[in-house]
């Protein structure tokens, strides 16, 4: 068994044996879907005439997936460093890249399951999401989005020393970003400066990409732009994450 397989397996077991976290990782976006679905049931967005669910489902989905990626790896790295598990790994010849790769494959798997479950629920008649024919394009968008937000989570997990700090920092990043990126309300309904601000946020492009793929809004080129920008964020945040990674809080 390779170090990568072993770490991935250990991570998978730790994850699936923690029923509470497991449940809420998948239930969290669904709760938002239900709440917003109830609030805006039967309404359409003025500008496009499309059902509101077509906005809210991709927005909540991308936010939920991004959130799980940031929190998941952030908590694990903080905990592993605090409990000396990183120190244990550090004393073996296993490289940092293997440690992070094992978290990456877990994050991708969690994101895929989250997305599948979420879309399946949103397709129920009571929510009424209609999938566009180009929905498979959501897969590359998801991969790139998860990569970018996982890198962000690694940075958070490298700086935060307590669970409270992880939660505070990650929430501070993810909740305002969700509103500013149009995850919960269509950006069209927001002031111009807010729309402009959204262009520096990775979640905005994650929303655009997921929305374009699932509901067919915008052109194929828009999905391409979303993917390209997410890849850029992934590269930059990934480089920072590798740079800031710490095995231990000591020197």
């Amino acid at each position: 068994m390779s170090a990568y397989t072993a770490l991935s397996q250990a991570g998978y077991r730790a994850y699936t044996r923690d029923r509470t976290t497991l449940f809420f990782t998948f239930a969290f976006p669904l709760i938002f879907l239900v709440v917003f679905g109830l609030i805006f049931h039967g309404q359409t967005v003025e500008e496009s005439g499309k059902p509101y669910i077509n906005y809210i489902a991709p927005g909540v989905l991308s936010w939920g997936v991004a959130n799980a990626a940031v929190f998941g790896v952030g908590f694990v790295l903080m905990q592993w460093r605090r409990d000396d598990i990183l120190r244990l790994i550090r004393m073996t010849p296993t490289p940092v890249s293997t440690v992070l790769a094992s978290r990456y494959v877990l994050a991708l798997a969690i994101g895929a399951v989250q997305a599948a479950l979420f879309v399946a629920v949103a397709l129920l008649p009571s929510f009424g999401l209609e999938l566009d024919g180009r929905w498979p394009l959501v897969l590359p968008v998801l991969v790139l989005g998860i990569t970018a937000f996982l890198a962000l989570g690694v940075i958070v997990g490298s700086y935060a020393k307590t669970p409270e700090a992880v939660a505070a920092v990650a929430n501070c990043l993810m909740i305002p970003m969700a509103f500013l990126s149009g995850s919960f309300f269509p950006l069209d309904a927001m002031p111009g400066w807010m729309q402009a601000l959204s262009r520096i946020l990775p979640l905005r492009y994650f929303n655009d990409g997921v929305s374009g793929a699932l509901t067919g809004g915008g052109s194929l080129a828009d999905i391409g732009v979303a993917c390209a920008v997410l890849a850029g964020f992934a590269l930059v945040l990934g480089a920072v994450a590798l740079k800031t990674f710490r095995w231990s809080d000591k020197s």
Binding site: M1, A6, A10, A14, D83, L88, R90, P93
Partner: protein, 320 residues
């Protein structure tokens, strides 16, 4: 007090199996204004069982972490198996086994799964995990989650984590701290077997009887410096040649005891009259003549006496 002089490095880099296991020269490490390690030079030979003793805060853990490559020495040279352990040296790491004080385990795994993960991280075969589990007597607890293990079982699992890849040089940090006497003795056997296989062991402990029983040499650290370094036997012989004879109370009056030639000091302790002497044979003969030797005990100094003498005042003898 004695201190091993650093040896000139003789081993060519192509032959890493020659030369000492650890060679430290004038190693310093300062945290803020605290001199955690203050000029330590010592050599641990291959196959040696080396004990690092000293009160809490004496710098033992920092020194061990420098040898393990977890901390960088501010100055001085550090050679472990002929290589520098800092920065992280992945060529050296598979040859080292490290047990830390905090028992760090992969969360929500069983003991067996944790050890199998460790084996994979060291790139050894899964059978190694089972073998190591058995060697520390945890086979029966293999399917218990790490969080549900008792203190002693956790300690043994932590030691197993350091041994799973059969390292040449093993660092153990207070390995017997949480063990009951039975588990402690069985761990002694594990450690002796490891030494028997030619492995080098560097370990810290507060159990001086254990250090005396197991270690080839011990270094006693006080305030970041090595206050003494030698075999336990030689340290004891050099430090306190005094023998204490314990005579049951009532058999001998203090006046009678003081009258015996070569008795340096007489005290009463817990129902016994204690006679301190440098000439135990002659004093024993004199006691025999007065009251017989029934119930008389002879106590020579132990490593603990040496240790307390060196650390009690808080200042060790300066190193040369």
């Amino acid at each position: 007090m004695t201190s091993t002089a650093p040896r000139p490095s003789q081993d060519p880099p192509t032959e890493p199996s020659a030369g000492p296991a650890v060679a430290l020269t004038e190693v310093h490490k300062t945290y803020g204004t605290t001199r955690a390690v203050d000029g330590v030079s010592l050599t641990v030979e291959r196959g040696e069982f080396f004990g690092l003793l000293g009160p809490n805060g004496a710098g033992k853990t920092t020194l061990v972490e420098i040898m393990e490559g977890q901390r960088r020495a501010d100055s001085g040279t550090v050679a472990v198996l002929g290589m520098s352990p800092w920065p992280r040296n992945t060529a050296l790491l598979p040859r080292l086994g490290v047990q830390t004080q905090a028992s760090a385990f992969f969360v929500r795994l069983t003991a067996r799964e944790h050890l199998a993960t460790m084996a994979a991280l060291y790139r050894c075969d899964p059978a190694a995990a089972e073998r190591t589990l058995a060697s520390v007597g945890l086979t029966e607890q293999g399917d218990t989650r790490v969080d549900d293990l008792s203190g002693g079982q956790r300690q043994r699992l932590a030691i197993a984590s350091a041994l799973v890849h059969e390292p040449e040089l093993i660092f153990l940090d207070e390995p017997t701290a949480a063990l009951d006497p039975q588990a402690r003795r069985s761990l002694w056997q594990v450690l002796r077997d490891l030494k028997g296989q030619g492995r080098t062991i560097v370990y810290t402990t507060h159990h001086l009887d254990e250090a005396e029983a197991l270690c080839d040499r011990v270094a006693i650290m006080v305030a970041g410096r090595v206050a003494a370094l030698d075999s336990p036997g030689r340290l004891i012989a050099a430090a306190t040649p005094t023998t204490r004879l314990l005579v049951p109370a009532g058999r001998l009056t203090p006046e009678q005891a003081r009258a015996i030639a070569d008795v340096d000091r007489v005290t009463e302790e817990g129902g016994s009259l204690v006679l301190e002497t440098l000439a135990a044979g002659r004093v024993l003969a004199a006691v025999d003549a007065i009251t017989g030797l029934q119930g008389v005990q002879t106590r020579t100094a132990s490593l603990e006496d040496v240790y307390l003498e060196l650390t009690g005042t808080g200042t060790g003898a300066p190193q040369p």
